[in-house]
């Protein structure tokens, strides 16, 4: 599957199928800091990602000082 990471944007190829939680663990990404999106739709943590899926792992942490 194709995995697009954001901020900065980069793309990875991973083997599927795999559960969302397993993918995040493999990439060492804390779950609370991202959303997983497939074709514009949120994918919950327990969902399976297929071999041909194209997904986005979107960081949700933003921050400038004030």
């Amino acid at each position: 599957m194709i995995v697009r990471l954001r901020n900065p944007t980069r793309t990875l190829e991973m083997d599927g199928p795999m559960a969302v939680t397993a993918l995040l663990a493999r990439l060492d990404i804390p779950r609370e800091s991202v959303l997983v999106i497939r074709e514009g739709i949120l994918v919950p943590g327990d969902a399976m990602l297929g071999r041909d899926d194209s997904i986005e792992i979107r960081s949700v942490i933003s921050g400038g000082a004030r």
Binding site: E32, V34, L42, A65
Partner: protein, 320 residues
């Protein structure tokens, strides 16, 4: 994973509430949390006119959307910071959102309207960019809210932002900042009321809200944010939250309930307020901090002066 409300398939988990939601009930959860924050902290009253500080990011677009959904009359103000690779794209997202919802957005552009940009101002004033930026935003949003006669200025600060700022302030026991870290600051001395309706929602929830509502926002960060302290505090809190969900909420709301009052400045501690001789905004000295920054950055006040209603920017109808 099942929705807590309808038992249908869930799309998002909110571990802090030990709950999962389907799309519909998650959106309802977000609106309820905002309504609860507004009521609990007396941020707004029915019929209030609100100016929303819009950056094109998830939080400011979400708070604007939710305020409109809850029935408030809310206009947006976008401030162009002149940061390459960030500002033009953010402005596009802000404009696209306003246009798609038929909302009124005004655009102030620092380079065009004030003759400076954040990087340049930081360099010439020997400040870090975020400090020059924060000063500019505070001044211009406050001024616009006052001038436009709005009842309040709303920002998209969420629970993660507030908890991270609180952690930073507590680590150094910055009493003065702790005293001002409230979800609502009341109007007075020429300043508008300021409200943070998203304090009961985390930033992951705000991103999910935008995805579910079909709101495109600027995902990429401002380049100046890289590696700053604020993000470090967020990461520290997130690793605590990971092991102990609910910690951020307990930390921030515990502070508001049990400690914030200790730091509220007394009337005697307030610095005397007068009007800046250059721009007329409230100032602690003859010339306000913003006008100082403007001078050092080689900028200028908008050429049409302050007596005539200052052109706030190009109305959305004239969008490029």
């Amino acid at each position: 994973m099942k929705c807590r409300v309808c038992r249908g398939p869930a799309v998002i988990d909110v571990r802090r509430h030990n709950a999962n939601f389907c799309g519909e009930h998650f959106l309802r959860h977000c609106r309820e949390q905002v309504a609860r924050a507004i009521k609990g902290h007396q941020m707004l009253e029915a019929g209030d006119r609100v100016l929303v500080a819009v950056s094109g990011g998830k939080d400011s677009l979400a708070v604007w959307d939710i305020l409109v959904e809850l029935g408030y009359e809310a206009d947006g103000l976008y401030l162009g910071l002149g940061i390459d690779g960030y500002s033009p794209e953010s402005e596009r997202f802000a404009r696209a959102f306003a246009e798609s919802r038929g909302l009124s957005l005004e655009v102030v552009d620092l380079p065009t309207d004030y003759g400076y940009d954040i990087r340049g101002a930081a360099r010439s004033a020997k400040r870090v960019p975020c400090s020059a930026c924060g000063l500019s935003k505070r001044h211009l949003f406050d001024e616009a809210a006052e001038r436009g006669g709005y009842d309040a200025l709303a920002t998209g600060h969420n629970l993660d932002d507030e908890a991270a700022v609180l952690l930073g302030n507590v680590l150094r026991w910055q009493g003065e900042y702790l005293g001002r870290q409230q979800p609502v600051l009341h109007a007075g001395d020429g300043f508008p009321r300021k409200v943070k309706p998203l304090v009961r929602l985390g930033e992951r929830e705000m991103a999910a809200y935008c995805v579910l509502r079909g709101i495109d926002y600027m995902v990429e960060e401002c380049p100046m944010a890289l590696g700053n302290k604020h993000i470090g505090y967020k990461e520290a809190l997130n690793s605590i939250e990971e092991r102990s969900p609910g910690s951020k909420h307990a930390f921030y709301f515990g502070f508001l309930d049990r400690a914030a009052d200790l730091f509220v400045p007394g009337d005697d501690d307030r610095s005397p307020i007068r009007a800046c001789v250059r721009c007329g905004s409230p100032a602690g000295a003859e010339v306000c901090a913003f006008c100082h920054l403007l001078e050092r950055a080689g900028g200028h006040l908008p050429s049409n002066g302050r007596d005539v209603p200052v052109r706030l920017g190009r109305p959305i109808s004239e969008a490029r």
